[in-house]
């Protein structure tokens, strides 16, 4: 990591923790989407954090459902 130049070289240290990057990605998407749809700045950041949480929980739920399908249902198909 000592010789790493940010914004030039890739962050290959994130290789094993790639799923953590779902948080900044959903946060960035929420910033843009809520900027388009929200009416008031007063509750803007609260709705951004709420949408980020909804995206993360939704993807976690899909991941659990798919892993259950692969672990328990797919082996019984043959």
């Amino acid at each position: 990591m000592l010789g790493w130049i940010p914004f030039f070289e890739p962050m290959n240290a994130m290789q094993s923790y790639w799923y953590v990057l779902l948080l900044p990605m959903s946060f960035g998407i929420s910033i843009i989407y809520r900027a388009l749809r929200h009416k008031s700045y007063a509750s803007y950041w609260r709705s951004v954090f709420l949408m980020t949480t909804q995206i993360v929980l939704g993807i976690v739920a899909i991941a659990i459902a798919i892993s259950l399908f692969v672990q328990f249902i797919v082996p019984n198909l043959n």
Binding site: M11, M14, Q15, W18, P24, M25, G28
Partner: protein, 149 residues
């Protein structure tokens, strides 16, 4: 539809052009400053995260041409990163290039971050077709009638 209504819904070509060049600038141009700057912050946040994770190799119009179709909607910043990639990294010999090119997940997620930024800016551009200057984010919440005792 009356002539006045048609004029109200005519898209602002200059705003759309500015929105393609710099994300959020289209909304700023039509008078929605707060909305425009928040869009700008969001798109640049995603692009910066993508370049931080995937390096400048995350934008490459030759090797990742299909992803580039989604990324290009971020405008000038993506063209600049692509130019830097082709100027600084691609001409290098493979041994020197090895540390500058993202490995599997780093590369994939770097590309995905910038592609998501581009696709979100495409949605922003679609919004510009029906946006009105008076629709900017209100500084405070909706007004409530005070109860006079």
């Amino acid at each position: 539809m009356t002539k006045i209504e048609q004029q109200d819904h005519s898209p602002n070509i200059l705003a759309i052009f500015l929105g393609i060049l710099v994300p959020g600038l289209g909304h700023v141009q039509i008078g929605q400053q707060r909305r425009g700057f928040l869009i700008m912050i969001g798109v640049f946040f995603l692009v910066m995260c993508g370049v931080l994770v995937g390096g400048i190799d995350a934008v490459d119009h030759t090797n990742d041409s299909l992803w580039f179709v989604a990324q290009i909607w971020c405008g000038l910043i993506v063209l600049l990163i692509d130019l830097l990639n082709h100027w600084l990294i691609i001409p290098l010999p493979i041994a020197e290039k090895a540390t500058l090119v993202g490995l599997s997940h780093s590369n994939e997620l770097g590309i995905l971050f910038i592609a998501m930024a581009g696709l979100m800016n495409f949605v922003v551009l679609l919004d510009l077709f029906q946006a009105k200057p008076s629709d900017d984010l209100e500084r405070r919440g909706p007004r409530r009638n005070k109860v006079v005792s």
